[in-house]
Every structure is written in C-alpha cells, then in structure tokens.
Amino acid sequence: MLKPSAPKRQARNGLPLKAKWARDWQMVLLMIPGVLFLLVFFYLPVIGNVVAFQDFQPYLGIMHSEWNGLQNFVNLYDNPDFWDALRNTLLLAGVQLLLFFPVPIGLALIVDSLVSNRFRKWFQTIAYLPHFLSWVLVVTLFQQSLGGAGFVNNLLRHAGLDPIPFMTNPDTFPLLVVAQLIWKDAGWAMIIFLAALTTVDVSLYEAAAADGAGRWRRMWHITLPSLRTVIVLLLILRIGDILSVGFEQFILQRDSVGPGAAEVLDTFTYYAGVVGGDWSSGAAAGLAKGVVGALLLWGANSLAHRLGEPGIFQKRGVS
C-alpha cells in the first residue's frame, strides 16, 4: 500500500524551508556575528549563574566545584551586610524616584512653554551634555566643587564660614546621590517628555481656550494627561530597575562615605565576590537581584496593562 507522502515542511508564508534558505541565506549570515556575541556574552553568563548553587572554587572551575543547593541563599539570608545593602538600595531607589522623577517632567513643561526658540535650543544643548560624561567624571566634578578642598568650601572659608562636608557625610548621602543624578541625567530624561509634548493635538488647546480655559487649566487638563502614557512607561522601567540604583556612582563613593551608607546590592556583589573571593555568595546576590528585577518589571507592566496603558511589552508580542 502506498503511503501518502508526508507533506513537505512548510514555512509560515508557504515557502518550503529550502526555498526560504535559498532566498534568505545572506540575511542569516548577517545574523551570525550578533548571535555569537549574544551567546557568548549574555546567554553563557546567564547559564554561568549556576555558581550561585555551588560551593564555587576558582581553581576547580564550574565543572568540578561541588553543588550545595540553596546554601548560598541561606547564607545570604543570615548575612547582615546583605540586608544592609538591600536596605540601602531600596532607600536610595525610593529617594531617587521621589526627588528625581518629577524634575525632567517639570523641565520639559517649562522648556516647551518657552517663547524664545534660541534660548530653548541653547538650554537643550547644555542640559543634554552631562548625560554623556562618565560617572567618574561626574563624581570628580562634584568633588572638585563640593569636596573638602573644593571651590564651594573655598568660598565658604574665604567668607569666614565653616566648610560643609557635602561629599563625606553618610547621613546626607542619599541627597548627594540624587543631586548627582539630577545634574547628570535630568536634562537628558527631559527629551522624551519634550517629544511627547510635540505630538499633542493643537486643536485640543484651541478648543479648551475657546471654552475659556487659561494657561494653567490647559496644562492641567490637556498637557499633563497627554504625557500620562510616557510617564507610566518610564515609571515601569524605573520599577524594573529599582534594584540597580547606579553601580559606578556608588563604587566610586563607597570609600569616602563608608559602606554603611553607600553599599548597594551591586557593590555588595562586587566586594563579596570579586574582591572578597566569596564567589558563590556574590553570584547568589547577583542572581537574586536579576530575578527579582525581572519579576518587578513584568509585574509593573501587567499592572499597566490592567490600567489600560500600553506599557512596554505589547500583549500581542514584540515587534
């Protein structure tokens, strides 16, 4: 009996795989370098996270180190330094969210309502620049300005006042950190709100004005609501990132204010793992942070969907 021949494997748009390959082989070649980079420098390290479940010994390597299950996580749980780092991270993230987040929105509203285009361009040029400077440079500039021998304290001394320890006081460290963040990134973060403001339908303003709404009412009832989608989107991203408060910024200032105030999860990972040689604890802290961060991002995004906002990942998948 003759079996009906199995249908040829069909690609989605109807072409057989072979024909698709003949058509697309160059495109596939173009993907290869990028895919290799992803495999080696992203997916391989992702798998390398198994050291979090091992008693990892560098001279034995991943293959020969002993497995110890969740012991590293239990150790973390019992480690007061880890809890300090977590508390600092959440505190700093909270302060950043509260004090940093509104600044770019405010700046964008002011810039958008400016009459002079020249002043506007001039301001944008200056405000974007610090985003491109490294954290080392930003912290250095702060130190030269506000440090014990910096020029602000020089001025204070000339005026016969006592110098203020801006850069070394652990109690005011969160404020210093936010000031640095605003200095570096508030201007840049403004860009996305400015872009959203250019898409607002002018006829809305016109209609509101015809109905007698003054400039404050127009801002409250038209400008701010039209920014809502972007604000929600950025809040979600920020929440997903809440456990990464800014690694370099803290590692650079950890020595001057002390780990009590400046130790965050990332610096804990670095000091425990790479510096202290306790690779498994470091990896466990890093993995816990990565997983919780991804979950937070996912949770915040589905919350946004529930509130009827588009969020970052569209429901029908990425494209």
């Binding site: 748009n13 795989l17 160059q26 495109m27 596939v28 173009l30 993907m31 370098p33 990028g34 895919v35 980079f37 420098f41 992203f42 390290p45 992702v46 390398g48 996270n49 050291v51 002011i110 810039v111 309502s113 400016l114 301001f123 040029t125 974007y128 620049l129 491109f132 400077l133 490294s134 954290w135 080392v136 440079l137 250095t140 702060f142 030269q144 910096g150 020029f151 020089n154 000339h158 508030a186 201007g187 860009i191 996305i192 872009a195 303003y205 004005a209 997903g240 690694f247 370099e248 650079l252 990972t269 790479v274 690779w279 470091g282 990896a283 890093g286 993995l287 990565g290 961060g293 990425v318």
Partner: protein, 291 residues
C-alpha cells in the same frame, strides 16, 4: 506663529522660567569651566587663587604637555582611543548587520529578535560575566573592554526600527535589479540611515570612552588602564602621579595636572556631541517608543 487663542506671554512667568532654566544651566557649566580654567592656569595663578581658578591670567599648556609626553597617562590616552575606535567600529558592524537582518520577515528572524529583546529584561550579573571573560582568557586584555559591549540592545532597537521604516518597495526593486542582501544593506540601507547610524555610533563611542567598571574588573595591569581608571585613581582618590609615571621631571603643579586629566576625559565627548545633537530626539524616541 503664535496662535490667536494663546495669551500674550506674561513677563512674570517668563522671568521665572528664565531663572530656573538659567540656574540649571549654570550649575552644569560652572564646574566644567572651573576645571578647564584650572587646567590651563599657571602655578602662580593657582597659588594666588588658593586652588581653583575661574579665569587663567597666564594660560599655559604645560599640564597637557606633561600628560601627552608619555608615561602612564600618555598610554592611558592611547588605550582609551584604541578601545573607543575599534570598539565602536566592531559594535556598529555587528549591530547594523543584526538589525537589518531582523528588520525583514526572514528565516530565523523572529527567534533571534526575541533573543536580543530578552537581554533587556534580565542582567546576567557581575560574577558570571567575570567568570566567562576569565575563561575566554580575556583578563588583562583590552578585548575585555570591547567584546562584551559589542551589542547594545537599545542601540539595536533604534537601528532596527529605523530600518523597518525603509519602504519595502525600494528593496524589492533593488532585488529585481539583481542586488543581493549584502549590496542592499551597503548601497541602500546604510546611506539612507547615515544620521541614525551616527547617533548610535556616538552612543557606542561614549560607552567605550567612559568604560570604567569593566576596566576595574578585568584589567590588573596598570599599563593597560584607560583614562577613566586613571581619573579615578589619581584625581578622585588623590594618589599622586610620580615623575616616573609621567615621564617628565619635574612634574608641574599637581592641581593643574589633575584638572588636565579631567579635561582629557571630558573633551572628546564635548567635541563630537554638538554635531550629532540635532539627531538625538529622533533616535531616542524611535528606540524608546518601539522598545
């Protein structure tokens, strides 16, 4: 044109806005100016001013001559330039190829796209990253600063979004004329996307130039340190550069020298950035909205 429904600008509000924005701009500019001035100031200026100079009365390039005359800092500048140039070239090539290949409905396009987008969600962590770099034998090699940064998901999304907006008819007609995908990428897509490629190139270049933590993590050999690590060690932490490390005797006033290091870290960025600034909004928005 001012729309008729808008009230005329009120002088009071205009003044408040100008003060807020002007103040913000001044706070950004003044520290940078002070640093540049101090780096150019003569020893006498610095001693008279007690540390910082707002305007050098006798500008001198002595500090820069010292830096560029070799030694640790001279090498660091070379290292940073090498990492930035080679890194940006590699990263652009890899990202452009991948972004173009996934911007059309092609074989394996979708799984590869998901592979990239997943990197936005989860970070592999410092320790496993360090172990991989170590296993590959890249410790104490400049490639450890270049290769892990060769594909940025955000830059990928910016480029891909732009490529997707190139009309398909254009590519179709090129294909009918016998052009291969390689030719289309080189002769049609890339010339059309010069501006956005330039912006993404700037983003990559800034990233490589600013590389600090990777250098701290992967490079023990001080002769391979890039500018940012020097900046941290000798300016922020205040270790003094000895005459040997500078290759010059006697070294100039430490203050102007330190400020010159700051300026060297700063100037390359301040120089390219104004040329690309007008393209920022477009690039950032296409990336952010579609990402």
């Amino acid at each position: 044109m001012r729309p008729v429904w808008k009230e005329s600008p009120s002088p009071g509000y205009q003044a408040i806005k100008a003060v807020i924005l002007g103040g913000f701009a001044l706070v950004i500019v003044i520290p940078i100016l002070v640093v540049i001035s101090t780096s150019l100031a003569s020893d006498k200026d610095i001693i008279n001013a007690g540390g910082y100079v707002l305007w050098p009365s006798h500008p001198t390039f002595k500090a820069y001559q010292t830096l560029f005359s070799g030694g640790l800092m001279g090498r660091a500048i070379l290292v940073s330039v090498f990492v930035t140039v080679v890194g940006t070239a590699i990263a652009l090539a890899v990202t452009i190829a991948l972004a173009y290949a996934t911007s059309r409905p092609v074989l394996f396009g979708r799984p590869v796209l998901l592979m990239v987008l997943f990197t936005l969600l989860f970070a592999p962590g410092i320790i496993p990253m360090f172990l991989v770099v170590k296993q590959l034998g890249l410790l104490d090699s400049l490639w450890s600063l270049i290769l892990p940064g060769a594909l940025g998901a955000f830059n990928f999304v910016v480029l891909r979004t732009f490529f997707m907006n190139v009309p398909g008819e254009l590519l179709e007609s090129a294909r009918i004329d016998g052009a291969s995908d390689f030719t289309i990428l080189r002769r049609i897509i890339m010339p059309l996307s010069k501006a956005v490629i330039a912006v993404v190139g700037l983003f990559y270049a800034v990233g490589f130039w600013n590389a600090f933590f990777n250098a701290l993590l992967y490079l023990n050999d001080t002769s391979k340190w890039p500018v940012q690590v020097i900046l941290r060690t000798y300016v922020l932490q205040g270790k003094s550069l000895s005459a040997d490390q500078l290759g010059v005797h006697p070294p100039p006033q430490p203050q102007s020298l330190q400020m010159a290091v700051v300026v060297v870290a700063l100037v390359p960025i301040a120089m390219v950035y104004p040329f690309l600034q007008r393209h920022f909004t477009k690039g950032v928005i296409t990336g952010a909205v579609k990402g």
